[in-house]
């Protein structure tokens, strides 16, 4: 059969390509992966990611050449079920979970993934962030149910890791179209200040400094301190803060910051971290939109895979990752978004430009349902 595939260059946007390939059923070939690098080919964390994909699908075909610079991926059918995966500690669990969040609603059986590895590191969205922003976002698309949660069993900081996260997601036949055009005003700010293998006082110090910045805007601020001990504390010391601002319309904007991993740079003072994180949140608020910057692509994907109806979502400025994602969506699903920039009025004090994304879904229906659940 003439199912045509796509070819890409380089390892950037690796996850996007594989995830979209899996969802669309088109095979993908990625060439020149770090071909000019001193260490050519796929890194361990990418290999680990491929392995994870292999676990949640059935019948995938993966071919990697000798040096690891060329990858061919023929997707199988999304299967789901209980999956346990040891994530490579080079990247945090968020790296893997972001992809799983995109795939989970379209599985054949509900997914229950246990991911082990680094839960919090400065590069990727941490587990706390995804928990507090991605899940409510997905709920707006009709992915809901009792067994829809991310549970942090153990926390593991970079570089050692040792954390454990359980992600369960129900399956849905179709995704609802959404109209998220009005973010609403921020009514409360919540957050988690976590610390492992350091003094429990760290958390309180972070909270203090973060509050000092945010209290200028809102009185309703509550930042939990989460200090994990013993076996639940992973292998490396560290601390960090995740802040989430919730609006009246149920949109979530978030910011986060983690301490630099042990032995990889200058140590950070918790006060500075708290303050900087709070400023990041303000920056995020400035950007605005109904979806925060790290979840833009997830929202766009769910819009694309919805029913054949118009979905609208208001975003802040598009991140480079999202822009690439939009291109990939066009490659894989032939969907183009209508992009309109909404500029705030002169007298409005509501941050920067917003982007209104509009699209018609492809009418993606979960082809694989379990024989029982019809």
């Amino acid at each position: 059969m003439a199912s045509h595939g796509l070819t890409y260059d380089g390892c950037n946007f690796f996850r996007q390509r594989l995830v979209l390939s899996t969802l669309s059923g088109k095979h993908v070939k990625i060439k020149n992966i770090r071909s000019r690098d001193d260490e050519p080919g796929l890194r361990d964390f990418e290999a680990s990611f491929i392995r994870l994909l292999d676990k949640v699908t059935n019948g995938s075909r993966i071919e990697i050449n000798q040096t690891g610079t060329v990858l061919f991926y023929q997707p199988g059918l999304l299967y789901g079920g209980p999956v346990e995966h040891d994530c490579n500690p080079q990247r945090s669990v968020g790296y893997y979970l972001e992809a799983l969040l995109m795939l989970a609603p379209f599985m054949k059986t509900p997914l229950k993934a246990t991911l082990k590895g680094v839960t919090n590191d400065p590069t990727d969205p941490t587990i706390d962030l995804l928990k507090s922003t991605a899940l409510p976002l997905m709920k707006k698309f009709g992915i809901d149910g009792e067994a829809f949660e991310i549970k942090v069993v153990k926390r593991g900081m970079a570089p050692g890791g040792g954390g454990e996260v359980v992600f369960t997601c129900p399956v849905r036949k179709t995704i609802k179209p959404v109209q998220l055009t009005e973010p609403g005003k921020i009514k409360r700010i919540r957050g988690v200040a976590y610390s492992v293998r350091v003094s429990p006082q760290m958390g309180n110090r972070i909270v203090e400094s973060a509050r000092s910045v945010l209290n200028q805007f809102l009185p309703d601020i509550y930042i939990y301190t989460d200090h994990m001990k013993g076996t639940n504390s992973g292998k490396s010391p560290g601390f960090g803060l995740t802040l989430v601002a919730e609006t009246l319309n149920g949109c979530f904007l978030s910011a986060e910051m983690s301490s630099t991993p042990q032995g990889q740079g200058d140590p950070v003072l918790p006060e500075d971290l708290g303050k900087n994180c709070a400023k990041l949140l303000l920056e995020e608020v400035y950007r605005g939109g109904c979806v925060d910057s790290s979840n833009q692509s997830l929202a766009l994907l769910l819009m694309t895979l919805g029913q054949q109806d118009v979905s609208k979502v208001l975003l802040g400025p598009l991140s480079p990752y999202t822009i690439e994602f939009l291109r990939h969506i066009r490659d894989f699903f032939q969907i183009m978004f209508k992009i309109e920039v909404q500029t705030p009025l002169e007298d409005e004090r509501k941050g920067g430009d917003k982007v209104l994304m509009t699209c018609v879904g492809v009418g993606y229906s979960r082809e694989l349902k379990h024989s029982q659940d019809r």
């Binding site: 059969m1 003439a2 199912s3 045509h4 260059d9 380089g10 390892c11 950037n12 690796f14 059923g25 020149n32 992966i33 770090r34 199988g76 059918l77 790296y95 590069t123 990727d124 969205p125 179209p177 005003k185 921020i186 805007f217 809102l218 303000l282 920056e283 400035y286 950007r287 605005g288 910057s293 833009q296 109806d309 598009l318 991140s319 480079p320 990752y321 999202t322 939009l326 291109r327 032939q334 969907i335 978004f337 209508k338 992009i339 309109e340 920039v341 004090r349 509501k350 941050g351 920067g352 430009d353 982007v355 509009t358 492809v362 009418g363 993606y364 229906s365 082809e367 349902k369 019809r374």
Partner: protein, 1220 residues
């Protein structure tokens, strides 16, 4: 008999309008039925008295007279009155209507609710386009039933045109809002299957004189599997019935059979008879009316897939290529109305009968058969009754994206064409031209000014070329070029280059823009090299200054675009191409702030570059906000309109200018860190109060909008609901501001009394409206259910869908939502097999079925299948079968299986006779729940009923779990107590090792377990059993062996066959066919052969009874052990005596004597016996006499004794009495 000599006279008198032609006897007949008329007639003419008399004999029925009095009338009256009383049963008998049982009441309530809810369908979003595609009407029926005639009649009915040969779909405009596409379905099962999938309405023709034929039922079954379109039966050949009764009977039976197949009350049309080879006009008209008002249900498969019923096909292959290689793959464009869902460009399609293809290019054309413009009139005029059937040769001129096709009509079509197209003159003129446009152009000359020299095309081309060279040089200035390549959004690089290539006049601006981009990138990276950027910009500006007109131009466009943007059409792709030069200066993403900074710095730089600053400022001040939209779009998607072109050019560029650096940078980015986080380096200092203020309103503590602010809302409420009248007390509450107004009014009363009245009136109206609103909201709320809410929500969504892209032009709209159903599109497909073109037959439908995202892939499908009850035989596992699933028809090898109670899928050799079974095939991934049907062969009509099986897809997977039973048999060769060594089951130790612990069993039912392999013989093992085995036992192991589904997927390529043989596709043969064709016969099982029966004699062993038991037994039951006396041995045998003659004589004498003696004794005994008898008789007699005597004596005695007693008694009585 009729006496009237002048019938005409009579007629006139009786005031009838039949006239003279009326036969007389008929006239009389009518007279009989109308006696009143007759009477008059006779009264007038005395000559007809006779007739009247004759008619008087005819029995006149007595009229009913109603009784007004008497018992009957009384009864009736009473009944009437009673009835009126009875009417209100509730009053008369309230008990009967009271609640008897709460449970029962609940039950009835539930039932009522259930029935109500059952009527609900799951609401779906209404996605029908505003201008729907023509309705596909498939005319089906066995051959010679009148299909073509019906289509012809319907077309004539709607368009007043006659069509000769119906080949391919025929599209007509039937009404103001409806178009119809007719297509005829021939008797080939391939066609029937394909057309059933695209049909909206099926006209099922049935020859009533013959009855139903198998084709009808086959088609119905196909429809049932692939979603049921509307089906209307049409009975033809009704004129062949001579007898009215049999006609009615046939109609009834046919109708009822049809109803059981379709649904109760399905419409069946009757076409009675032909007039001049056509059906009766009135009947066709009625049928047409039915069709044009019919509503259609949306079918799941059709609404979720885009599809095309191709009504035109053009071969676009290069003729030279065809000449070189007649068998080369063809590029073909197919045309048709898009139906179903939105079609995306570059999607995947399946053409049933050909295969899967990648869509090369899709474009939409103007509608060849458009609906009439919206006008308020009832009927269509002649011009609007359009007919479009390119395959049938109607419509001589057809337009394509880049070409016009002229169909040179044959002489018989000419007439038609002139009717259809008034543009024939133009066509003819086009045909008449003999030289091409190029040569004409070359010959023509233009003078710009009067009297000046004419310009040659050669001159012009020279000029343009010069210009081009100039432009390119300016763009590819070596210094700027090198600088530019350093920092780019790699993805845009190629496209921007393209743009610079394309736009001849914008090289300079381009240079500047890229400079900007660079500056921002640098700012993001770290230290911004401002100076370098300035220099660059300067270079660019000088370039643009050199060409003053260009600058002016761009200014103009700037203004223009600004106006346009303010008109409120941002984000329109049309602008993006127009305004490229300006837009590109804004090529940035959410980084206006850094830009702002750079702008400030630029201003500081001084007045030298004031022009540049001016433009910059202009761009920023006017266009920053509005331009950002197309900008962003361009940033994300590039210049979308010519995607393919730019790609090509890129390649070209690569050939001409090979620059290594940008590629390198591209690769650098390509291998960058894959992270979704957006690291903002905008440099907002969140310690500064102004910056903090910029987001103040994002929080609930900030300022609210007018319409949401609590204070304003409260105020509004006051105004709206402040004054109200308490209906109970009659008090009128008036809100404060109203009061004030009233007061004002009071002051100005003398001035405007009329106004006051009006105000009052308005107030009343307002109040009324409010009340009504309130009532409505309350009323609706009370009735609103979940169902209603859901429906409303979907309704809203549908409206949004329509509104969102409704105001865009089609060109850009198709990019966002794809080609929408109802458009007339042209689909270009490359690499079609050449047979598709060479063997093209318009009588066979070409369908372009769009495929879903993963429907192009292959996998294992598990289905539930049932052999069709009308199919003659059962189906064999692993025999190839042709499936129709989704759009496709393909041959594959199914495995049939049953699910055991423990979930195991056990292989079956054959399908069950009357039961569902599972089937697993290797085939295209199709959504679960889609129905399919299977046929054994698509060649001709061999079987009585061609559909072999039907079913539904249950599950999709990339692996299968079907197993078949396998019994391994072994024999014990050494038996210990319960342990046993078994051989012959396996061949190696390894095999045994795999089965260690497996349970085994003997034929006699002793269970056991495999323990361990033995070293020798190979494959032997030790096993333990629950009892001791015998050497004669057979040990077996029950196991399940996985079966693999053969990966055969063989699409039925019936459309590629030569015309006339399209129904002769044959794929893989079944085993039975193969054997039959090759003459292979199975060797019969020797056990099944008949042999002479030889029975061995049966032997029984003796019964052995133990000695002890024997002893204990009674003698009767004891075995009789005395042996029969054997032969006496010779020595014990006594010798026989042989008498001497004398002795013999003596013996004879003695014998004689004894005989005599015996005789005598016998006689004596006889005499003795008689004597004794006599004696006994005598004795008896004596005895009797003696008894008699004794009895009498006794009698006497008793009498005496009795007398004595009596005496005694009497005396005692006396004595007693004396005593007394």
């Amino acid at each position: 008999m009729p006496p009237c000599a002048e019938p005409s006279n009579i007629c006139s008198q009786s005031d009838w309008r039949h006239g003279d032609k009326l036969p007389i006897h008929r006239f009389l007949c009518t007279c009989e039925t109308k006696p009143g008329v007759y009477r008059e007639f006779t009264w007038r003419n005395s000559a007809d008295v006779l007739v009247f008399r004759m008619d008087a004999k005819v029995k006149k029925q007595k009229k009913h007279q109603q009784k007004h009095s008497g018992p009957k009338a009384e009864k009736k009256k009473a009944k009437k009155q009673e009835g009126s009383v009875e009417e209100d049963g509730r009053k008369r008998n309230p008990k009967a209507f009271s609640v008897q049982s709460a449970v029962r009441m609940a039950k009835t309530f539930h039932r009522a609710q259930d029935i109500k809810t059952k009527k609900h369908h799951i609401p779906v979003v209404d996605r029908t386009p505003l201008e729907p595609p023509p309705v596909v009407i498939v005319v089906v029926g066995p051959p010679k039933v009148g299909k073509s005639t019906l289509i012809r009649c319907l077309i004539k009915n709607f368009t007043r045109q006659k069509l000769g040969d119906i080949c391919g779909p025929v599209t007509i405009v039937s009404g103001k809002k409806r178009r119809l596409t007719f297509i005829e379905c021939n008797n080939d099962i391939n066609t029937m299957i394909d057309l059933a999938k695209v049909a909206d309405l099926v006209l099922m023709l049935i020859d009533a004189s013959f009855g139903f034929e198998m084709e009808t039922f086959e088609f119905l079954n196909i429809c049932q599997v692939h979603g049921f379109p509307r089906i209307m039966g049409v009975l033809t050949h009704l004129d062949s019935f001579k007898n009215n009764k049999s006609l009615r009977k046939t109609k009834k039976t046919l109708k009822h059979r049809f109803w059981t197949e379709v649904y109760q009350g399905a419409k069946l049309f009757y076409l009675s008879g032909m007039v001049y080879g056509e059906y009766q006009t009135q009947e066709v008209k009625n049928l047409g009316r039915f069709i044009s008002v019919m509503k259609f249900r949306p079918l799941v498969w059709q609404t979720s897939h885009p599809y095309l019923l191709v009504d035109r096909m053009e071969d676009l292959t290069d003729l030279e290529q065809v000449r070189m290689d007649p068998k080369c793959d063809r590029t073909v464009s197919l045309y048709g109305y898009l139906r179903g869902a939105h079609l995306k460009n570059k999607g995947q399609v399946h053409i049933p009968g050909v295969g899967d293809f990648q869509v090369g290019d899709v474009g939409f054309l103007s509608d060849p058969c458009p609906l009439p413009d919206a006008q308020k009139k009832r009927a269509l005029n002649e011009k609007e009754r359009l007919l479009y059937a390119p395959m049938a040769g109607v419509g001589g001129l057809v337009y394509d994206k880049d070409a016009v096709y002229i169909d040179l009509p044959a002489s018989h079509v000419n007439q038609l064409q002139e009717e259809a197209r008034p543009t024939t003159e133009l066509v003819q003129s086009l045909i008449d031209t003999h030289s091409t446009l190029d040569t004409k152009m070359a010959a023509s000359k233009v003078s710009l000014f009067t009297g000046s020299a004419t310009l040659d095309p050669t001159h012009i081309s020279q000029h343009t070329r010069e210009k081009e060279i100039l432009e390119e040089q300016s763009v590819w200035d070596p210094t700027t070029n090198r600088e530019r390549r350093k920092v780019i959004f790699t993805q845009e690089e190629g496209e921007e280059e393209d743009v610079s290539e394309e736009d001849d006049s914008e090289g300079s601006d381009q240079a500047e823009d890229e400079g900007d981009v660079e500056c921002e990138e640098m700012a993001a990276g770290g230290a911004p090299p401002q100076k370098k950027q300035k220099l660059e910009a300067e270079g660019g500006r000088t370039g643009s200054c050199a060409e003053l007109p260009v600058f002016a131009d761009s200014e103009d466009e700037l203004e223009m675009s600004e106006e346009e943007e303010e008109a409120g059409t941002p984000g329109d792709s049309g602008h993006s191409s127009e305004e490229e030069e300006d837009e590109e200066s804004e090529d940035e993403l959410g980084k206006q702030h850094s830009e702002g900074e750079s702008e400030e710095e630029q201003e500081e730089e001084g007045a030298l570059r004031w022009k540049e600053g001016l433009q910059q400022k202009a761009a920023e001040a006017f266009l920053r906000q509005q331009e950002a939209a197309p900008n962003l779009r361009k940033l994300v998607y590039g210049s979308v309109v010519e995607v393919t072109e730019s790609e090509e050019e890129e390649e070209e560029l690569g050939g001409l200018f090979r620059v290594s650096r940008p590629q390198k940078s591209k690769r650098l980015q390509a291998n960058a860190l894959d992270c979704s986080r957006f690291h903002a380096d905008t440099g907002h200092d969140w310690d500064v109060q102004e910056v903090l203020d910029s987001i103040r309103d994002c929080f609930v503590t900030g300022k609210w909008e007018e319409d949401q602010d609590a204070a304003t809302l409260l105020k509004q409420d006051e105004e709206l609901y402040g004054d109200f009248e308490d209906l109970e007390t009659g008090e009128v509450h008036v809100s404060q501001p109203q009061d004030a107004q009233d007061d004002d009014d009071g002051d100005e009363e003398p001035q405007v009394k009329m106004d006051d009245e009006e105000v009052q009136k308005n107030k009343r109206l307002e109040k009324k409206r409010r009340l009504k609103e309130r009532f409505n909201s309350e009323y609706d709320d009370g009735d609103a259910t979940y169902f209603d809410d859901l429906k409303e929500e979907l309704q809203k969504q549908a409206e949004l869908n329509r509104a969102t892209f409704g105001d865009m032009d089609d060109e850009s709209r198709v990019q966002y939502e794809g080609f929408r159903p109802g458009m007339y599109i042209r689909v270009e497909i490359g690499s079609l097999p050449c047979e598709f073109v060479t063997n093209f037959d318009p009588h066979y439908p070409i369908i372009l079925g769009g495929l879903g995202s993963s429907e192009g892939n292959l996998g294992y499908l598990q289905m539930r299948l049932k052999k069709h009850r009308w199919y003659g035989r059962i189906l064999k596992t692993k025999d190839p079968l042709i499936f129709s699933l989704g759009w496709r028809r393909f041959q594959t090898i199914p495995l049939f299986h049953m699910e055991d109670h423990n979930g195991r899928h056990r292989l079956l050799k054959y399908t069950p006779q009357h039961m569902h079974c599972g089937a697993s095939i290797w085939g295209p991934i199709t959504p679960q729940g889609s129905g399919f049907l299977a046929v054994q062969s698509v060649t001709g009509i061999k079987a009585s009923f061609r559909i072999a099986a039907t079913g539904v897809v249950l599950d999709l997977d990339k692996s299968v779990t079907i197993v078949k039973k396998l019994k391994l048999i072994g024999y014990p060769f050494k038996i210990f107590k319960n342990t046993c060594f078994v051989k012959g089951m396996f061949n190696t130790v390894l095999e045994v090792a795999k089965f260690e612990g497996a349970s085994v069993r003997t034929v006699s039912g002793i269970r056991g377990q495999i323990k361990k392999a033995l070293s020798s013989p190979a494959g032997a093992f030790r096993a333990t059993f629950e009892d001791r085995l015998l050497m004669s036992d057979i040990v077996f192991l029950r196991s399940w062996y996985p079966v693999s589904v053969p990966q055969l997927y063989n699409p039925v390529t019936s459309l590629l066959l030569p015309a006339g043989q399209k129904d002769s596709w044959s794929g893989m043969r079944t085993l039975g066919q193969l054997k039959h064709d090759l003459g292979v016969r199975n060797k019969p099982n020797p056990d099944s052969l008949y042999k002479p029966v030889v029975r061995a004699p049966r032997r029984f062993n003796r019964l052995h009874i133990p000695k002890e038991l024997q002893k204990a037994l009674p003698f009767k039951s004891k075995p009789k052990q005395q042996q029969a006396k054997g032969k006496t041995p010779r020595d014990l045998q006594r010798p026989s005596v042989i008498r001497e003659p004398h002795e013999r004589k003596v013996a004879a004498l003695l014998h004689a004597l004894s005989t005599v003696h015996n005789y005598k004794r016998k006689n004596a005994h006889k005499v003795q016996h008689a004597k004794h008898k006599e004696f006994l008789q005598q004795k008896e007699k004596d005895e009797e006499a003696k008894l008699k005597r004794q009895r009498e004596a006794k009698k006497k005695l008793y009498r005496v004794m009795g007398q004595k007693d009596q005496k005694k008694q009497r005396s005692s009585l006396k004595g007693a009495s004396s005593d007394l």
